[in-house]
Symmetry: C2
Subunit: 109 residues, 2 copies
DNA sequence: CTTCCATTTCAAATCAGGTTGAAATATATC
DNA sequence: GATATATTTCAACCTGATTTGAAATGGAAG
C-alpha cells in the first residue's frame, strides 16, 4: 500500500458518519446493507449517505452491487486490514509497544 | 478510546506532512527530534511544522519538552496502538481477515 | 407508458482545515 | 540591555470537504 492510498483510506475513515457506516457494515457482514438502510442507521439523508458511501467505495473500503432497485454495500475487510498494516509496519516499523495493542485485541484463540 | 478520540487521531494521521513527521519520529525513537529538524526532514516551513506538531500533540500522538531553545518531539507509540486497536476491535469486531494482516505484519518472533 | 420507489447527481451554500508571512515569545550569548 | 536563534502565534487568505434540497436516473409494477 502506498502512502497516497493510506492517506486516502485514513481521511475516509476520519469522519463520524462514515465510521458509523463502517461499523454497521461490519456488524452486517457478510450480508451487507442497502443504501437506504444504512442512511437510516446513521441518521443521514439519502443524498448524504450516497455521498459518503461513494467516498468509501472510492477508497476501496466497501463494495456495492445492485439488486433490482436496491444497492447493497458490503465491507471490504482486507482494505481495513491494509490500513492497519500500513500503520503498524510502514509507520511504526512493527514497534513492540504498538504490536502489543494488537495482540491484546486478539482474544480469539 | 472513544469514537471522538479515534476520529481526532484518524484525522490527525490523514495528512501527508503529519504522517511523514510521524515516520521520522518513529525512526528517531526513543530519542525524538527537534521542531527544526522535523521541519527540514519533511520540507516544511517552521510555522507549518509547528502548526502540524501542535495538532499531533493535541491528539496525543506525540509529546514534547523544551531543552534550552530547542523543543524535542517524541513519538507516543501507545497512542498509535490505541488507534489501531480501535479499528481492529471496535470497528472490525476482531474479524479474522483483518487480524490476519496484523499477524503477517509481525515477523518478530 | 405512467407511476412509484431507491438511489445518485448536481449546483449552491457553508464550513473546516491548511498555508503564508509577519510578528511575538522564549532562551541563550555577547 | 542588545542581538541572535528556535519556535510559536496570529490574521488573512485559499482550498477542499460537507451539507442541502432539488432534479435526474435506474428499475419494477400497474
Amino acid at each position: 500500500m502506498t502512502e497516497a492510498e493510506a492517506l486516502a483510506s485514513l481521511s475516509t475513515l476520519a469522519h463520524a458518519t462514515r465510521l458509523r457506516m463502517l461499523k454497521a457494515l461490519v456488524a452486517a457482514a457478510p450480508g451487507g446493507l442497502t443504501a437506504g438502510t444504512l442512511a437510516k442507521s446513521v441518521d443521514a439523508t439519502p443524498s448524504r449517505a450516497s455521498f459518503h458511501l461513494s467516498k468509501m467505495a472510492e477508497a476501496g473500503l466497501v463494495t456495492h452491487d445492485r439488486a433490482a432497485r436496491e444497492v447493497t454495500y458490503r465491507i471490504e475487510f482486507q482494505a481495513i486490514g491494509a490500513v492497519i498494516r500500513y500503520l503498524l509496519e510502514d509507520c511504526c516499523a512493527n514497534h513492540p509497544t504498538v504490536q502489543a495493542c494488537c495482540v491484546a485485541a486478539a482474544p480469539k484463540s
